[in-house]
Structures are given as C-alpha cells and as structure tokens.
Symmetry: C2
Subunit: 235 residues, 2 copies
C-alpha cells in the first residue's frame, strides 16, 4: 500500500513536471513572438538577432518534453485522463515549436525589410494589431491548458476567424500598395510573409485549444465547427 | 505462457494495423496533392471540388489513428522500439493531416485562379516541377517509414533544401512578372500561395523522415544539420 502510494505520488510529480515544462516553453515562445514583432516595428537589429538565436532553445525544449513523455508512458503506463494529458502535451509542443519557427521567420523578414529600405515600408499598424490578437490567443490557450478551461478554448477558436479576416484585409491593402507603386512589390511580399506567419500562429493556438477540449472531455474536436465545439463545451 | 504469446501476437497485430493505416492515410494524401496540382494545371473544376471535399476524409483518418494509438498505449503498455513506433505514428499523422490541408489550399487557390482570369496566369511549369519533388519526398518518406529505411530519410532532408531553392526561384520570377504588369499582382499572389503550400509539403515530408530516424535509432534528429543526420544514419 505504501509503495503504491509512493508510486502514485511520483506519477503525480511527473505529470506536474511535464505540465510546468509545457507552460515554460509556452511562455518563452510567447516572448519570442512579442520580441519579433517589436523588433520589426522598431527595426532593432540586436533583438532581431536574439530572436533568431533563441529558436534553438525552443527546439531543445520540444525534444526534451517529448523525451519526458516517452519516459512517463514507459514507466508509469498512464491510462484514461492521465494518458489524454500526455497525448495533449505531445501534440501541444509540436504546435509550440512551430509557433517558435514562425517567430524566427518574422525576425528574419524584419532583417530583410530593414536591410532593404525602411522608408518604402507601409505602416505596421495592422500587423501589430493582428499580432496582438494571435499572441493573446496563444496566452489564452496556455491558460486554458493550465486551468483545464473549456470555455476559453471555444473562445480562442472564435478569435481565429478574426485573425483570418484581418489577414485577408492586410492582403488586400498590400495589393493596393503594390499596384500603386510596383517598386514596393518586394517589400510588400516580405510584409505579406510576416502577416502569413502571424495567421499561422493563430492556427496553432487554435489547435492547442482544441487539444484542451480533448484532454478534459475525452472528445476529439479537431475538424469540427466552432458551433459543435461550443455545444461540446456546454454539454 | 500461452496467454503471454497470445497477448504478444495481438500486440503485433495492433502495431501492424496502425502501420497499415498510416500508409493508407499517406497514400490518400499523396493522391490529394497530385490531384490538386493536376486540377490547377488543367483547370478542372470537378477535380478541384473533389480534392476540397475529400479533406474531411484525411482529417477523419488522423482522428481515428490517434484513437488507435491511445488504445495501444493504454492496453499494451508499449516500451522501447514499440513505444518509439507509436510516438512516430502520433507525430507522422499530424504532418500528414497538414499536408492534406495544403492540398486542399492548393485546390482552393486553383478555383480562385480559374474564377478570375486564366489568361493572365503565368505558366505552371515551375510549379509542376517543384510539386513533383515535394510529392516524391512524401512518397519516399512513407516508404522509409514502411521499410525503416534510414538512408532514404537522409536523402529526403537533402531534397528539402532543393524545394526551398525552387520556391525562392518562383518567388523571384513572380516578382518580375508583377513588376512588368501590375494587373497580374492578384493572380501572382495566388500562385505564390500555391508555391508556399508546396514548400510546406516538403517541410512536412522532411519532418516525417526525421521521425523515421528516431523510430529506428532512438535518436531525435529534428533540428540538427543534414550532415549530423547523415553521420547518425551511417554510425
């Protein structure tokens, strides 16, 4: 009995550790996005380089959390909600790593934009706005994961539609900009790639919030409509 | 002893089933890419619609294979190479599902291109070429998974560099095209999104081939250089 309790406590500690690590990785990735966007707007090359350099830390976090998950499966043989938690972590860190990649891409685009010609760049008001929404979606997705909060998950899926709309608005604006002055085509495409990276961050945050629903309810809500997710969360 | 052997045989059958399902999903996704590219080149609206409609089948395959993996972990408590196989499957199907998304995106872009103005579209020779490389990378990645072939994996990672180069060449070509005639900007951007989708298919195939190295050697080679992968494969 004492041994069983001991094993169970160790198991709980393992799960707690993996949860903490996911939240640390998420927090770091969030910083990466914010710094990449700031560097883009301010043209700060030191921060640009830092964001690019830091990407290997995000990658290392993914590899190490994957390793911990494998060990937990092999040693603790989780079932039911514990297993769902581990499955959720395995999926979540893949999305976090790819958000990290997008942050590094934004930094690389920022470098191209400033190496080329800052004065020909359009204003970054819309980019900053949509980046704030995407970054807040990631923050909420991590909170939802930490607190097992289903309502937040449904809310995040809704916000992803907004990010997609904002992306299309930026695209239309950039097309006008390019048609007015074809010399601005190259720089506009770099800004388009930044907008695309932000749009993908929104997609990844949405994926993460769908895994939270799976973790809590045991129901796989990827690929269903937002209305179905809301029904599932209420039900 | 008889029971143990029976359990072991059931376990082998489970692993065999999951492997077969991954290959079926992969084959279907491969078809989706090829049909999307054919539809783009031929302007065949029936095929365009089919590719878009079929995407939910790819999604359903992902959900069902994930479910099988969870059941295997819970019931069979895999360790060592069996567990690595399951971890590889869980990661692989995420990439396959996203390749499916890219195929559906290509089909949606094809629809936009034909709804707009076919005659203003540049030739699709380069798009077809890079799509063939990406599609062949996926095929090789699935073969490498089926045959536990490490050499193929290293080869695929090399090809991804080629796809990235081809993408940059298409981008430069499209910029010239847009500068020559700003009325072609919208359609050029649609073609750019197609090229971007193909480039991402290459990335996903590369991810899949890296998981194969992990599955066979137990070494995580994501985020390392291609030279390190080659050393690992030889060693």
């Amino acid at each position: 009995m004492a041994i069983k309790e001991h094993i169970s406590k160790r198991f709980d500690a393992d799960l707690e550790e993996v949860r903490t690590r996911v939240l640390q990785m998420g927090g770091f990735v969030e910083e990466q996005i914010e710094r990449a966007i700031d560097a883009l707007i301010e043209g700060n090359e030191t921060i640009i380089d830092q964001v690019i350099d830091n990407d290997h830390r995000v990658n290392a976090m993914e590899v190490s959390i994957d390793e911990i998950c494998s060990q937990i499966i092999a040693r603790r043989q989780p079932t039911a909600s514990d297993l769902r938690m581990i499955m959720t972590v395995i999926k979540t860190i893949t999305d976090l790593e790819r958000i990290g990649d997008e942050a590094a891409k934004i930094a690389r685009m920022a470098r191209l934009i400033y190496t080329a010609d800052r004065l020909h760049a359009p204003r970054f008001v819309e980019i900053k706005h949509v980046a704030q929404i995407a970054s807040s979606m990631l923050h909420q997705a991590l909170d939802a994961f930490a607190r097992l909060d289903l309502n937040a998950a449904a809310h995040i899926v809704r916000q992803d539609e907004l990010v997609d709309e904002e992306f299309r608005a930026i695209l239309r604006q950039l097309i006008t900009f390019m048609m007015e002055d074809p010399r601005k085509i190259s720089i506009s495409l770099e800004i388009l790639f930044v907008a695309k990276a932000i749009e993908r961050i929104g997609d990844h945050a949405k994926n993460m919030s769908e895994y939270v629903v799976y973790m809590v309810k045991g129901k796989d809500v990827r690929h269903v409509t937002v209305e179905e997710i809301e029904r599932e969360v209420r039900g």
